[in-house]
């Protein structure tokens, strides 16, 4: 599995991808710094809704992960090098798991650093809050990675479909229709954040932590299994 992991790590670490991720990841940090220094600093609730939920969990996190995870397989499919891996005498999960781990390894540090700095700045170095935001963001990275790795295996338009999903489902529908939140990675992350630090999103009608943890496990494992199944059945170019 190490060979596939190292190969994927190298494939996903293109200069432009890293630049785009850096720019995206720096946005919530800059926003938090500006709001803290502003004369009309928002309330904690406003900050959490706009920056943590809207910008970090709703946009930066899924976009950074989409840019990485959706190409974990898509690049190989496009370059027609996937056969190098699938024609090896190893179980399919030995290919999918390291690719998923590599996607998390590349996007995770960007998102984690962004979440850490954003919350550290906004909550005046409150370590409990910072820890809750960072860990829940990392959980979001894992969930989105699992979903977008699968997406990159089933379609060559993963980026477009992923964007559509982020904007429409995670951004629009989940934001306005509370019943949909049980199927939203963004709100699973927020529920985890609330669970780790009860002061966060205290005014929000978040999902229960137990449900969020359970749903996260189902989403992560579900897409992982779907990817393995897809790799077993697909025609490899």
């Amino acid at each position: 599995m190490g060979s596939v992991y190292v190969l994927t790590l190298r494939q996903l670490s293109g200069r432009w991808r890293l630049v785009i991720m850096s720019v995206l990841a720096s946005m919530p940090v800059l926003m938090a710094a500006m709001l803290v220094r502003s004369d009309r600093a928002p309330s904690v609730e406003e900050f959490e809704l706009v920056v943590l939920s809207g910008m970090l969990a709703g946009a930066v996190l899924p976009l950074v992960v989409l840019a990485v995870a959706s190409t974990a397989f898509a690049n190989e499919v496009e370059d027609r090098t996937l056969a190098n891996l699938t024609l090896s005498p190893i179980p399919r999960w030995h290919i999918v798991v390291p690719k998923l781990l590599a996607a998390v390894s590349v996007s995770g540090p960007f998102v984690a650093l962004s979440a850490f700095l954003t919350s550290y700045v906004a909550y005046n170095a409150d370590l409990t809050a910072t820890f809750a935001v960072t860990v829940s963001a990392l959980a979001g990275v894992a969930l989105y990675s699992s979903a977008f790795v699968w997406l990159g295996l089933v379609t060559t338009k993963a980026i477009g479909i992923g964007l559509f999903y982020i904007v429409l489902w995670e951004g629009y529908f989940a934001g306005f229709v509370s019943g949909i939140r049980i199927l939203s990675v963004r709100y699973h992350s927020i529920a985890l954040m609330h669970g780790l630090d009860g002061r966060r999103f205290a005014e929000e009608n978040t999902l229960s932590v137990g449900f969020a943890v359970g749903a996260s496990i189902v989403v992560f494992a579900g897409f992982l299994l779907l990817s393995i199944r897809r790799l077993r059945r697909m025609d490899v170019p």
Binding site: G2, S3, V4, L7, R10, Q11, D79, R80, T81, A83, N84, L85, T86, L87, S88, P89, I90, P91, R92, R232, R233, D235, V236, P237
Partner: protein, 310 residues
Amino acid sequence: MTTNGVATVIRVDHVSRWFGSVVAVSDVTFDITPGITGLLGPNGAGKTTLLRMITGLAGVSDGSVTVFGQPVRDNPPLYGRIGVMSEHETVYGFMKGRDFVRMMGRLKGVTDLEAAVDKAIGFVDLADAAQRPMGTYSRGMRQRMRLAATLVHDPEILILDEPLNGADPRQRVHFQVLLRQLAAEGRTIVLSSHILEEVELLADTVLLIVNGKLAASGGFRAIRAALDERPYHVLVVSDSPRELASAVVQLDSVDAVNVDPDGTIVVLSRNVRDLQVELPRLAQSASISLRRVEPLDDSLESVFGYLAEG
């Protein structure tokens, strides 16, 4: 499972594959035994689809493919016995040649990895370039390094899709020598090509694929004999068409002659080799200037089409 007393390594049994309404491969059946088997056919004939089904990369719509008696699709343990080099020349450009071969060896579960890597790279004579990123390689070097990666686990079966594509004449000769050497070691090699002469030089057995169907199979001589019997149309332009036509029709190698109103002659011949010799000789003896001699149906498609119809 044997074919004429020889163990069958690959069995393709009534295999079809369609993509929507397009039939890429239609009810193809054959067995492959050790030695070099050439899959010959024009571009788009279905060779690559067939090879992809033989390697398990693509599924069949109907029929079955077995390798060593086992279904090949979704059978990873079997892949350790097969080496596949696809027609796509894409490599990991950032990766050094040696690292690529090493990675493939590791994925294939090679135990004495470094020795196997040395052997495979030495076999394709690329030791000097092994520490360079493959993005800097020429096309031929990439092909050879890919062959090294295909051989690193010492596979019993080699499946090579258009392996000589893009190779210059020197590289072609080198490749041919390597493949013969591998076949002499008892391996089963299946290679595809749309170039008749390429397969003629290498293959012991030829499978001719036309329009997704198996048009002919057997030794190359049988295929070549069928080709030689094929009537050819040859266009001839001269300064005295009628005089030349009346002389040409007397030749043994000529079946018929037609003089067009514009003065061009179309000769129908089943023995073009003799015609090539006799026509200039005849023109010279009759003091006729030949301005143009051109085969009218020499495309591969027409050759393959003729065999398919036959």
